[in-house]
């Protein structure tokens, strides 16, 4: 693979790769490091990339593996347990966070890594189930199950958040 091919087939996936790293690592600086690391590794092994059939699946799989490896190695970074509840910000925090869109991002970040990665690949990157299954090394059925759980959890968090907001407003009314 020459420079031009690398640019058009690998570097063009930088945005998706970065968003995936951001979703898994939940830290901009770490996500940048992961992207830089991945692209450097791929660049060094560009001669062997010609044999790859699906570059997007390959790059995103590599990125996920790299991020998970970074999490494992990192002492300070720790995965939020799957049973963690989303604590709705109080009205003061809400004004600080500006709007609900940011809250949704934070809610998604509380989901287990697998669920939030699948959710973002499907709803943000608009990828097909088949490709997601390939990247996650699981069946399409397993992807559907995880996607459904992630979306339902997100819906529950939004609903509960709305209820808490209403209670707070009623209290201060």
């Amino acid at each position: 693979m020459n420079v031009r091919q690398f640019q058009y087939q690998i570097l063009c996936l930088s945005d998706k790769s970065y968003r995936m790293a951001l979703s898994i690592l939940k830290d901009e600086s770490s996500a940048k490091d992961a992207l830089q690391e991945l692209m450097m590794r791929l660049w060094e092994k560009r001669e062997q990339l010609d044999a790859i059939a699906n570059y997007q699946a390959f790059v995103l799989t590599s990125m996920r593996n790299l991020c998970l490896d970074m999490i494992r190695k990192s002492i300070h970074t720790h995965e939020i347990p799957a049973d963690t509840e989303y604590n709705a910000p109080n009205p003061h925090q809400q004004t600080e966070q500006a709007d609900m869109i940011n809250h949704i991002g934070s809610m998604i970040d509380t989901l287990p890594e697998m669920q939030r990665t699948i959710l973002r690949m499907k709803d943000v990157e608009e990828m097909e189930l088949e490709e997601i299954a390939q990247i996650m090394s699981m069946t399409e059925n397993a992807v559907t199950v995880n996607l459904s759980r992630a979306r339902k959890k997100l819906r529950d968090m939004i609903t509960n958040n709305r209820k808490k907001e209403n209670k707070v407003y009623e209290r201060y009314r």
Binding site: L11, S14, D15, S17, Y18, R19, L22, K32, L35, Q36, M39, M40, W43, D99, M100, I101, N102, H103, I104, G105, I108, R120, D123, V124, E125, E126, E128, T144, V145, N146, L147, S148, R149, R151, K152, L154, R155, I158, T159, R162
Partner: protein, 173 residues
């Protein structure tokens, strides 16, 4: 808007098709959102916002084209000189070997003969000498054959028989 409720139900169960998800996104991006659906608008808006996140510009380390250090240059110079010297010695040895071993050379009685004409003359002389030796060797066999032919016992006996018969005939008469 029962249709949207159905789509939302399918969406949260993870069984909505790509087309149905597009319809949902279009609905929540529009202005005619019903109050009961308003709660989900931020979800699709958050996905759209996340999709706008761009990867940082990648920086690949440039190939180092620095000039070699002085010691490195001296080593290169010395190695080059040594290589040239080695080539010169090898070439002169080859020339010497060629002068010692000309292209045409035969060894006659342990002596090198490089003159092709003289060598051919010598060879012709030696061949004629060999012919003479062979000729002389066969002379003895020829003489023996002549003697054998001359001393043919059967012939002598036949002639003797004929002579006896002739004498007998003359005697009877």
């Amino acid at each position: 808007m029962n249709d949207i409720d159905n789509l939302l139900e399918k969406y949260f169960n993870g069984v909505s098709s790509t087309e149905e998800e597009k319809r949902l996104k279009n609905y929540f991006e529009g202005r005619g959102i019903l109050p009961e659906h308003e709660i989900y608008r931020s979800v699709f808006a958050a996905f759209n916002t996340e999709k706008q996140i761009k990867a940082p510009v990648m920086t690949f380390p440039e190939k180092k084209t620095r000039r070699p250090a002085i010691t490195r240059r001296i080593i290169i110079l010395l190695a080059g000189s040594a290589a040239i010297g080695l080539l010169a010695v090898t070439f002169s040895n080859l020339q010497y070997a060629r002068s010692q071993h000309p292209e045409y050379m035969v060894i006659v009685n342990g002596k090198q003969v490089v003159n092709q004409h003289k060598a051919q003359q010598y060879a012709e002389h030696m061949f004629s000498e060999t012919d003479k030796i062979i000729e002389n060797s066969y002379q003895l066999f020829r003489e023996a054959a002549t003697i054998n032919q001359d001393l043919n016992a059967e012939k002598i006996l036949k002639e003797t028989d004929q002579k006896i018969e002739c004498i007998k005939t003359n005697y009877k008469q």
